[in-house]
Symmetry: D2
Subunit: 358 residues, 4 copies
């Protein structure tokens, strides 16, 4: 619990933004998965800061080291520990907020809960913790790849700029061709312009990441509490700054009638398919073989380059000033994190499903 996630394929993450390092222990990865370290590195590159003008300018190399669980290029069935050492931490940057609570950050709540907190860079509440998830997610992707499962996340909204096209009309190979990670060039351009303008105004803005999982076999998902979409929702809501999750028809589906919303079954060769997919690939909490798709809402980043009203740890009024190097919009770098968490859930449920039948 707490810093662990998963049932059979489990991860436990550790580490603070400005401590010695952070990392993850993956327990329950089956033996025999080919571990491509280059792929892990590439996934981390997609998340790392300093990628472009619309992300934070912090430079962190996010070099990783596998300490255990891999032998001669393959997983051994024992825990895979991966450490990412911190290098570019400027702890001094944070002395100005050591005794103040930044609005809409975790400062106040950590203080209330634990009595102490590592204030440097947000400590454990820093989004830097997600680097560990991305590394673990890369392992999960390597496992899933052997079963033909692929995962595609992309930015579908930044502020008010929304990509209206359904995912079926997108070319996922275009996602990585622009800095905002939106597979539609026109929308990408507008998003980038908006984020850049927001950054210049020393402000921040929210966004939405959409995600599609294809090739997922039928049968993944557990009644009752661990429905596949409940696990996906839990996973997504555990990412920093996430405020909402919907899958399939989502909040819009509320307005539909049952006769419109129901997905009719039909036979296509040896496969049973559905004519529409308002179910988002999940029925009764279990995958039905159709594409799984969902949307994740991210709030505007809380750190802004402006003075804000707040209180200090004594409860006295204080002004929090914006300092440091932060993202004007979190979604471009959130794309690989959403994919990683999706991969972790699917890998876990793939294994869990192995005990469904005698």
């Amino acid at each position: 619990m707490r810093n662990s996630f998963g049932n059979v394929f489990t991860i436990t993450t550790f580490g603070e933004s400005h401590g010695k390092g952070l990392g993850v222990v993956i327990d329950g990865c089956p033996a025999g998965v080919a571990i491509d370290e280059g792929f892990i590195g590439k996934e981390l590159q997609r998340r790392k800061p300093g990628q472009s003008k619309i992300t934070t300018q912090r430079k962190e190399e996010d070099a990783f080291e596998i300490l255990s669980g891999v032998f001669e290029g393959k997983s051994t069935g024992t825990p895979i520990a991966i450490v990412i050492y911190n290098t570019d931490q400027k702890s001094k940057d944070y002395s100005h907020i050591a005794d103040k609570f930044r609005p809409s950050h975790a400062d106040f709540t950590y203080h209330e809960k634990f009595g102490v907190r590592d204030y440097r860079g947000g400590g454990r509440s820093s989004a830097r913790e997600t680097a560990a998830r991305v590394a673990a997610g890369a392992i999960a992707k390597l496992l899933l790849g052997q079963y033909g499962v692929s995962i595609h996340a992309y930015v579908s909204q930044a502020g008010h700029v929304q990509l209206e096209k359904p995912y079926q009309d997108l070319d996922f190979s275009q996602t990585e061709t622009n800095i905002v990670r939106c597979p539609d060039a026109d929308a990408a351009e507008q998003m980038i312009a908006l984020i850049d303008e927001t950054r210049k105004n020393r402000d921040t803005i929210g966004g939405v990441v959409s995600c599609v999982a294809q090739g997922v076999p039928t049968g993944l998902g557990e009644p009752v509490f661990d429905r596949l979409h409940a696990a996906l929702g839990h996973a997504m809501l555990s990412i920093n700054a996430v405020k909402g999750f919907e899958y399939g028809s989502g909040f819009e589906g509320v307005r539909m009638k049952g006769s419109e919303h129901n997905d009719a079954f039909y036979r296509d060769g040896d496969t049973i398919k559905t004519r529409t997919n308002h179910s988002g690939g999940i029925q009764g909490g279990i995958s039905n073989g159709e594409d799984i798709y969902f949307r994740v809402a991210f709030k505007p980043v809380a750190t802004i380059m402006q003075d804000q009203e707040s209180v200090d740890t004594q409860g006295d009024s204080a002004i929090v000033s914006g300092k440091g190097r932060h993202d004007p919009c979190v979604v471009p770098r959130a794309v690989p994190i959403v994919e990683a968490m999706c991969a972790l859930v699917l890998a876990d449920y793939l294994l869990l499903n192995r005990s469904s039948k005698i």
Copy 2:
């Protein structure tokens, strides 16, 4: 996992719609909670079928029996088992779908996952399972009541009829005064009219349940994967027919700027409060003492009184005809279920938080 929920205050539910009964085992309820059986009964009454013209006309009494864990009116710290025996099951009603897959139901996916399924009334995938959750949630509410926590859910949308007022402008004492469970009389009337019309058209419609938790102490929620809102989202997404979850500013917050969205801290007597509450009472995954609020999207009920295209268990084309007694809209009866799941999460996290500090 699977049919269990919670970390310290845990529940395990069991039972099918048309078996002998269903129930729940609550493990981890502290000793000393006064168990008011009348209250449990009232909560079950709010969920039970046959309440009004806009719910299913099935009659189920949902009488419950506590088998263990309560002695002389108080919880003893040992598991509390509650059984609700099935009485009004008409298994014959379901012979027509024994070998067909109802569209957007769990028939096909259960068949794929388990090879067998109890087709009577949806078996384990029936929403009847939530009766067990409501009983358990009543125990959680009794526990939370001793700490001053109260939970108020209500219908805020049915189809396109949406209650625009923020929760602060509502009088929760009015929720139970109408059959749709919307605390605003005007909106309630429109919702009831829409649902009734939909029912007459042999169709169904979706809706949204909103929920507010008040009096929640600071410090509830665990970094990183078990953020309070991630647990709430998991809980809500585990309810039948739920397609989306958002808390605080939710999907709308995406369009805001950080400077608008951030909740400024200020001191009010001995308490630190926030001037706005876009955070929905949760910052960094931990409660900050403000009201917690969230919204839950329910799809239109899949069972409609119309003929639908489908396939049978052999994969051949088949027509599924609507029969039986079903809800035209699930949200009025979902209100106590949302409250129950919210109570279960808060009770669990209240106990979990006891080990945060030395």
Copy 3:
């Protein structure tokens, strides 16, 4: 945790000795196991009180009811709930100890832990709780039977009367032919005489149950904390009155040299076997295909028909007098409980092992 056991094949038990009933929820049993209710009944008969002159004379029928999870004679993959209703509870029998702490019982510790306790018949600490485990164990045995695994427990010691023969020299078909459940007729006779004499002296005595599991496939057991024998030990030590557990060479093996203790491998047709089996079928925590065997020590029953020094709930001196109907020696009725817990562990680990390799 707490009242649950297992990782994938899990059980949660509930119920007190003198409440309305007790039972178990089995979550994670794969779909497709043929559920033989007659077999469950027979297993419960082996545990129930009143079997013979050397067990308690209480009459409890231990009739059980399956509430869920079985459809048309097979498990469906959903939770199997089994309830055993209490019938012969004479709560009056216990009023004399309502405010006294019986020596070496759980009265004092429950009082300290929970503040309240159901004093009737020991409440939750009563060995009656193990009826639920025997019912669940029967399901696990049915699952294991499909994989060729069989489990044989027997009484190998009562007081100072010890069965010296190794298990290889015993005929397990003889275990149920005598009331003490020792497969050796001579030893059985001596044990019965000793227990009967002890009973007449209004005293009690301890004993040892040995257990052998045959046909267990290789590969069951998880490094590091969940070694197969650690799970077996946990399971056995969770049975009332158990004071010790050893497997393979056990405490005696301490005196051996490595050169004597090591089990040499050799090839027998297509199978790799060991010439000796001091390892007890488990190496590095994982089954190696040889017979698994272990021994479980039970203390003398704490309830004796004599006056004993104690204190009451106020801390004042008090005399506890022996009353009621109790076992002079627990081991004959413990045999099916040991088998049940062994079956639960093996079923769980069989499923867990399905995710070891890709």
Copy 4:
């Protein structure tokens, strides 16, 4: 599960004998525990190889690094990750057993379970993994120390040399004064002589570690499956080479009568005590405030400096020759491991007990 242990205060270990390093993530340590790094180092020194003539001559420094969870000398409530880098691994030492199964090692069973194995130094099955537990146990001891709990393990048997004195007659301050870690000088001398002689004969021998926990508050332990002694047994049986566990009167108690075995309660000032302590400080699975004591049996080390019959990975006959630097008897170095696992269980149950009452 698997490589994790504990419910609230949990640890997850990782790492192989000859990989880059091994370590542990401690999740659930409350905030505010003073973390004395010097103490952790001392505990690791007690376990490390090369201490004396009766332990392995391998030199491993076991230097550790805390990567997270500690800020300004105190635990922060976030995961504490500790890494111990491997330095003295001579992987070449193991090429001779890369394709052979060492008798009574985990080689064969890992091969069966996972299909692959890291054969260098036993990989994950190496006792080197316990270094991570000792580091975590040191943190648990620091937590327990704040509640007045102390833990004392010592060697009570090596081969046939047995320390007959009850623990009450021993001076625990003497345990560390000799290389075998037996607090009785005479017995220690005999044990050392026996182990040294065994080593010269290129053989190994087993032993027993006894452990006493003092100052444990009442109320720790959970009915039913997680009785305190069941958790202790699980913990001890998860240590390499352990074959048995008994607490209180243990296997010897079997021969006693109830009238002898029962521990009479009496009042001593404000405290309720027992006149004897055959219960080993645990009644009904819950601590009663008396000393907790138990014994742990270790088999003779499987690696001997002799030729042994075996098979190779092809199933063909093979001779395994003794090479490398190994312990002739494991118990002297097992003392801190037993203490560490005991501390981990007690810390976990101390926190778990915080939710017993309202």
